[in-house]
Symmetry: C2
Subunit: 178 residues, 2 copies
């Protein structure tokens, strides 16, 4: 279903990308191309936010020794150690206006990144358990106190093809209709 886009790089269809995306936790030992890294953030950048406040900020980690330090903050250390790119996603409280709305927009930002990764043939996983150590991660990454860690997205070239995880039926999701 992919085809050459204007830039010459094939792109998936939206539907296929949304339904076909999986969490990828094992990566090849191969660095990301700079253009891929920037394309993920470019996708994130166009997420919607309340009053267009864009409260998200990222710190990128490709350095192996820094990744190893971050890996000590989570139970999923093997993913973090081996991912060629970590995107630490923060809510910048100096740009925040409503916590729920801002946190939701960070979720939209991350989803765009995950879709863009899948679209480019990369794999990614959204890590949340690391938030137990969010202050320590912030310090290791030398982020200012107004940055609150929301997630770490680990990205790389996929070394696995996991099965699709189940979802609730549409009927369980739609509570009522008027």
């Amino acid at each position: 279903m992919s085809q050459a886009s204007a830039g010459g790089v094939p792109s998936l269809e939206v539907r296929e990308a949304i339904l076909g995306r999986r969490s990828i936790r094992r990566f090849l030992d191969r660095p990301l191309r700079e253009e891929d890294t920037l394309a993920l953030l470019e996708a994130g950048r166009w997420a919607p936010s309340g009053l267009n406040n864009q409260p998200w900020r990222v710190i990128l980690v490709e350095d192996r020794s820094k990744a190893a330090e971050i890996a000590e903050c989570t139970r999923y250390s093997s993913i973090v150690e081996k991912a060629p790119l970590l995107i630490a996603v923060f809510l910048d409280h100096s740009s925040s206006y409503d916590r729920d709305k801002d946190v939701m927009s960070v979720g939209a930002f991350i989803q765009n990144i995950l879709l863009a990764a899948h679209d480019r043939g990369l794999g990614a996983v959204w890590l949340g358990e690391i938030l137990r150590e969010k202050d320590r991660v912030r310090e290791l990454l030398e982020a200012p106190p107004e940055f609150e860690l929301m997630a770490v997205v680990a990205v790389g070239h996929p070394a696995e093809e996991p099965a699709r995880r189940e979802r609730k039926a549409l009927d369980d999701l739609i509570y009522r209709r008027y």
Copy 2:
């Protein structure tokens, strides 16, 4: 850039959809097809969530008198009154395990819906200001107390082509690199 997909319905490329999506606030006076409504929720359904808990629930409003009641809960009443479909998005506290992670996953759910709407030639806008009256909306929609309103997404056939809103430069979004 669109092409016929397996189902015969053209679909946009991911990149094009993410970058080309706009908030649409004016709609044609034309109802949504049931298959479009369900396709939006199908896209939402595949959003990621922590522990795959899928804490989102929706109530759909197409009935005009119910839409008029909801419209009284927001400053943006003309959008709500005229949208052929309202998707009231709730966080179900009985499925929740961590508020921040759940609220982020609701953001990912909404983003999938917005992308799917754009992909199908529909327009949508994510309404947040209505959360000031979230309890009243919940009561009007006869949702249980464990449902907390997170957003109302108004959907329809676009009657406007708004310009792209600006975004921060990538350099302002990337705080640091290791």
